[in-house]
Symmetry: C2
């Protein structure tokens, strides 16, 4: 089992020095004859440059990593889908880290940057950016783009850009819509409060209610995880506690799926009896029945923006941190399609 050819092999075969080989291979000005001999030898040997050696020398890996909680979540899939082509186009390979939303794991990824196995990182920390995160980012000396909230006091010249959405407005869009179609008892199925989205959406829900002049009722709120089965559990709990609710605001689409399951199993008509709104506007929203009205937080746009920002730093060097905010929008579908008040449609199905 012979080892692969190196520039040394080529040099011997072509009867020139390795320096010449390197020059030819990198297209530097070289005598015609030398070029031919080197190319020929390289060809015959099937030479391919060793990317590791090149990385060591060039101090760059041409690799970028994306770290998120769970690649099974359609939101992150949407991001990866946008990130990948942008990076690929620029000649970067993409590494994937699933952290399960574990803060320790996230920190591990950030600290790992010091190993220099990637040139940059896009990370979406589920539980927020702590002091330690910040320290790791600064220590990394590699550009990082954070998708999500970034704390106020970032140190001077930290190589961080930030892409965020405005879930506050997102929730507001949803509640305004529900209010406009006549719903007044709007339940809320949220994710964990110690996650960034969970906390933000909780606050936004209260705010939006207030703005609409609706009372905040603890009994209308249930907290679970950002998954379908958890959403179902939460919906069941909520329905038994507050059977009179006429709408459900869900903190993401997966939770909304669970809610739809439960409503169907309880024979409650959607949207006749209960209107449902999801969040993230994933591919799933257009698949359910009824199709799911959902607040888009621009996952794809955020992914693309993050990749673009990172690329800019990678290619053009340090600069002041930038923040890109992606505006949410509401996509109205079947689950809120009936403007009439509850009770208009028959119950059961």
């Amino acid at each position: 089992m012979t080892e692969g050819p190196t520039i040394t092999t080529i040099a011997q075969r072509a009867g020139v020095s390795i320096a010449s080989v390197s020059r030819v291979l990198n297209g530097l000005p070289t005598r015609e004859d030398t070029v031919r001999r080197v190319m020929r030898a390289a060809d015959e040997l099937g030479y391919v440059p060793n990317s590791v050696a090149r990385s060591l020398r060039n101090r760059r890996t041409d690799q970028v990593a994306f770290a998120m909680a769970d690649i099974g979540n359609p939101v992150y899939v949407a991001m990866v889908r946008e990130i990948q082509p942008v990076l690929k186009e620029a000649g970067y390979r993409l590494l994937i880290h699933s952290t399960d939303g574990d803060a320790e794991d996230e920190l591990g990824v950030l600290r790992g940057l010091r190993e220099r196995y990637v040139d940059g990182l896009i990370i979406s920390p589920l539980r927020g950016v702590t002091e330690e995160h910040v320290r790791a980012i600064v220590a990394a000396r590699a550009p990082v783009v954070v998708i999500g909230a970034l704390p106020e006091g970032m140190p001077e010249g930290a190589p961080v850009d930030n892409v965020r959405t405005d879930s506050r407005t997102g929730v507001r869009l949803a509640l305004d819509h529900l209010h406009a179609i006549g719903r007044r008892r709007i339940g809320f199925l949220n994710g964990p409060l110690d996650t960034v989205p969970g906390a933000a959406r909780a606050a936004a829900y209260r705010e939006a209610l207030e703005a609409l002049g609706l009372p905040y009722d603890e009994d209308l709120v249930e907290v679970g995880d950002f998954y379908r089965d958890s959403g179902a559990r939460a919906a069941r709990a909520l329905l038994s506690r507050a059977p009179g609710l006429d709408a459900l605001m869900c903190a993401n689409d997966l939770i909304a799926l669970g809610a739809l399951d439960v409503l169907r199993e309880h024979g409650r008509d959607v949207p006749g009896d209960v209107a449902v709104v999801g969040m993230d506007d994933t591919d799933l929203a257009s698949v359910t029945w009824p199709t799911l009205t959902s607040v888009s937080l621009g996952s794809a746009e955020r992914g693309r923006a993050a990749a673009t920002l990172l690329l800019d730093r990678l290619q053009n060097g340090p600069r002041e941190p930038r923040v890109t905010v992606v505006r949410p929008s509401l996509t109205v579908r079947g689950s809120t399609a009936v403007p009439g008040p509850p009770g208009a449609a028959g119950d059961g199905r």
Copy 2:
């Protein structure tokens, strides 16, 4: 902006040679005192080994790549989801390549192995493994696991393992089921015939019909792409050509989604008028309405098997090629739930 510390930096600070530093860092027997001084210096400097240099020296990158057509496809997401933890556990990082199913792109990935930027590769070639693929694999000298069909005559000692499913049996399961619930005019919405799954499913469809004593009718077959909108187009075409069909076999779940859209828009009851079966049994299948009966081809299992096989080669060196076959199974859901013959339920909805 100082550069990061290296073993040389540590050696100076600790007043020892770089060899000692390396030894301590790698846990080789060293005098107590030396250990302390080195550790202390490393600590103070916040030393982290450079993974690139280490890779060059050790001739291994601790990276593995997974190449598939489209990370947007739930099938591949399911695979990644299984592959990731297996590799992570073993200390490998995961690289993702989306090839768009382009054969040139796939070949590029395979050839890229010679750059030695990964230690191994899992690839799922959409259009099959050609002569050129095989050559690239052999030339790569890095272990490769192919998810999907592998040609018969692989060269001796090629470092390839293979994970496949049996879509023939899968289709058979579906048609048997449809036949059992009384369907006789079973349409088929397939993907491109020049893809491996497309070709296999086309053949399997004919075979299964024959085994059931049903005639093969060209008019009942429509070919498109493996996407939802394409599935919808195909379904429309098929319905206008063969309005009398009482079941639809779809070559994957996305196509089935499109078919469900069209059936609903045509006011055909599912499964009353037309029963529908999908393939891949993705997360989507349990979300649609009615929920989608689907043939599981064990995406998760295939992913896990592939990762395990690759890992074995990575850790235990060369061995004879192995093949793992994952058996398909049928998950019956709402879209075929009504055993009665067509016409039993009212039309419209």
